[in-house]
Symmetry: C2
C-alpha cells in the first residue's frame, strides 16, 4: 500500500495525495475529504524511508551513553526521550561502554544512520589527550553534537553542564561549617568533571584555612565497584590510621559505600561521621540514614539540551556552553 494505490483509489494524482498528507493549503476541501477517506479506511502509512530519502531526515536524535543501566544516565535518557518526542523527534540509543574505541564506533554508527543530531552523555566522552577527540571534531562536521556534562570547545559542539566545582565546594563547605575537620574525599574519575570536583574540594578547604592532607584523597578506579567493596576499603584505610570525620563522594554509590563502612565500623552517621554524595539519585532515599547529596539539576540540563538542539536544527544561533548551578540537598547523613 503506497501513495500510488491511494491516488488510484481516490482518483487523484500522487501529488495531491502528498499535499493532503502534508497539510498543504493548496487543495480543495472536497478533494481533501475524498483522499482522507481513502487513507483512513486503507490503513495506509507513508513510507518513512522514502520520506527520509527525499527530505534527508527522519527526525532522529542519537543518544550515546556509556551505560544505560546507570541510574543517572537512565534518568537522563528518560528526560531526553520525553522532551525530544514532544518535539516529534525519535531517539536511537547507543550504549557505548567505557572504551574509547567503543565510543568512537558508537558515534560512527549513529552518523551512518544520518541522525539529525547527537547527545553525548557524560564527561567521560572527552579525552585528556586531545588527539583522541578527533573523531568528535570530525563528527561535529556532519551533525550537531551536544555534550551532557562535558566541556569541549569546538565548532558545532554544544555543552550543557553543571558547575561541578562550585557544587562540590559548597558541599565541602557545608561539612566544614557543621563542624567537620577531616573530610575524606572519594572519587572515581579523573576526567574533566572529576578534576573540577576535586578542585572544588580543595577550594573549600582553602577558603576555610584548612590544610590539604593528600592522604584524605581516596580514588576508586575499578569500573563496577560494589558498595560493599567501597566499605571494605574504607575499613582498611581506617586500620592504616587515616582519620576522618566526614566523607565527600563524587558519586552517590561511593557515599553509600561510606555508609556501609560506618555501619561496619560502628560509627554513627551523622553524629560521628557526616556523608555527602553526588547526583541526588533515587537511592539517596533508600539508604539508611538517607543521604545528603548534590543535586546537579539533571532535568534542567536535559530540557536545555533539547531546546538547544531544536534551535540548532532550525538554524538559530545557540549558546555554545550553558552552565547550571548545583545545590546541596540536605537529608539525614549530615548535621545541622
Amino acid at each position: 500500500m503506497n501513495i500510488y494505490d491511494i491516488s488510484k483509489r481516490a482518483g487523484v494524482s500522487i501529488a495531491t495525495v502528498s499535499r493532503v498528507l502534508n497539510d498543504s493549503p493548496h487543495v480543495s476541501p472536497a478533494t481533501r475529504q475524498k483522499v482522507m477517506a481513502v487513507i483512513n479506511d486503507s490503513g495506509y502509512v507513508p513510507n518513512a524511508f522514502a520520506r527520509g530519502l527525499g527530505l534527508n531526515t527522519m527526525q532522529t536524535i542519537g543518544l550515546l551513553c556509556p551505560d544505560a543501566s546507570d541510574p543517572y544516565q537512565s534518568q537522563a535518557l528518560a528526560y531526553l526521550e520525553h522532551a525530544f518526542r514532544s518535539r516529534n523527534y525519535d531517539c536511537v540509543l547507543s550504549c557505548a561502554g567505557k572504551g574509547l574505541d567503543a565510543r568512537q564506533a558508537g558515534v560512527e554508527l549513529l552518523k551512518s544512520r544520518h541522525v539529525d543530531g547527537m547527545v553525548l552523555m557524560g564527561s567521560s566522552f572527552i579525552e585528556d589527550n586531545d588527539k583522541d577527540n578527533a573523531y568528535i571534531r570530525q563528527a561535529a562536521k556532519s551533525v550537531p553534537l551536544i555534550l551532557l556534562n562535558g566541556s569541549f570547545p569546538c565548532e558545532r559542539v554544544y555543552c550543557v553542564l553543571c558547575d561541578d566545582q562550585r557544587a562540590t565546594m559548597e558541599a565541602a563547605l557545608h561539612l566544614i561549617d557543621t563542624g567537620c575537620k577531616r573530610i575524606l574525599y572519594l572519587y572515581h574519575s579523573k576526567n574533566y568533571s572529576g578534576r573540577k570536583k576535586l578542585e572544588g574540594y580543595r577550594a573549600a578547604l582553602k577558603m576555610r584555612g584548612i590544610g590539604m592532607d593528600e592522604s584524605l584523597l581516596c580514588f576508586f578506579g575499578q569500573d563496577k565497584m560494589s558498595v560493599q567493596d567501597v566499605g571494605e576499603q574504607l575499613l582498611q584505610l581506617e586500620k592504616k590510621g587515616v582519620q576522618f570525620d566526614a566523607v565527600l563522594a563524587s558519586e552517590d554509590s561511593l557515599a553509600i559505600g561510606a555508609l556501609k563502612y560506618a555501619k561496619a565500623a560502628g560509627r554513627s552517621v551523622p553524629e560521628e561521621l557526616s556523608v555527602i554524595g553526588y547526583n541526588n539519585s533515587t537511592f539517596c532515599n533508600f539508604c539508611e540514614p538517607e543521604l545528603t547529596s548534590v543535586d546537579n539539576k539533571l532535568k534542567a540540563i536535559c530540557d536545555h539540551i533539547v531546546e538547544t538542539m531544536m534551535g540548532v536544527l532550525e538554524g538559530k544561533e545557540m549558546p555554545q556552553k550553558t552552565v547550571f548551578t548545583g545545590e546541596v540537598t540536605i537529608r539525614q547523613s549530615t548535621r545541622k
Copy 2:
C-alpha cells in the same frame, strides 16, 4: 558525496562500488582496493535512507517502555540494546508512560518508522479488557512483537517471561520455613504479572496449611510512591492493629519501604521482621540491612528476546512463549 561521486573518482560503475560496499565476492581484488581507497579518503558514508528504501529495512528494533528511569527497565534496556547491537540492529526508544493512549501512540509511532520488530517491556502492556489490546494485535500484523514479562496469545506475538507465581511462592515458602507466621504482602499492580505473584503468595500459604488473612494484603496503587510513604503506611497499618512478622513485596522499592517502617517502628530486621523484595535490583545492596530479593533472570530473558527476534526476522519458526524460573537471592533481611 554519494555512490556516483565515488564511482566517478574510482573510474568504475556504481554497481561495482555497491558490490565493494556490500562485500560481494564478484569483484576483483584490484578494483576492490582501488574503490576502497577512494571511499576511505573521501569520508564517504552510504545513505541509510536510500538503503532502507531499497531493502525496506534499516535494521532497527523499537523498544517500548513505560519508564526508562525505572531501574528494572533501564537494566533491560541496557541488556537489549547491547544484544541487538551485537547483531547489527539499532534500537529506537519510546518511553510511553503508563496510559493506554500513550502506549498505543508509541506503538503507532514505531510502526510508522518501519522498525523491523518491537519489544514491549512489562506486563502493563496487556490490558484486562481484551478489546483494549486490539492495537497490539493490529501492530503484530505488520511487525513481530515480543513481550518482556507479558503473556498474550496472538499470532506473531512472542512472550518471554519469568514464572512470577512460582518465584513468589518460593519466596513466601522461604519466609514460612524460617519461622514467619504472618506475612504482609505488599503489591503495586493488579495486572497479569501482579495477579500471578499474588497467586504465588496464596499458594505458599495453602501448601503450609496457613489460613489466608485478607487484612495482610496491602495494595499501593499510586504511581510514584516514595519509600518513605510506604514506610508511613505500614506504620499506620500497625497502629490499626494489623500484626505481621514478615513482609513480601512485589517490587524492591516496596520492600525498602518496609525497611523504613522497621527502622521507624524499632523492629530489628531480620530478627523481628523478615523482608523479601522482588527484582533483585542494584539497590538491594544499598539498603540496610541488605535485601533478600527474587531474581527474575532479566539478563536471560533479554538475551532470549533478542535470539527470538533474530530467528523470527530470519523466517525461522520460534516458540511463542518462553518461561524462565526465578530464584530467591538471600541477603541479610531474612533469617537462615
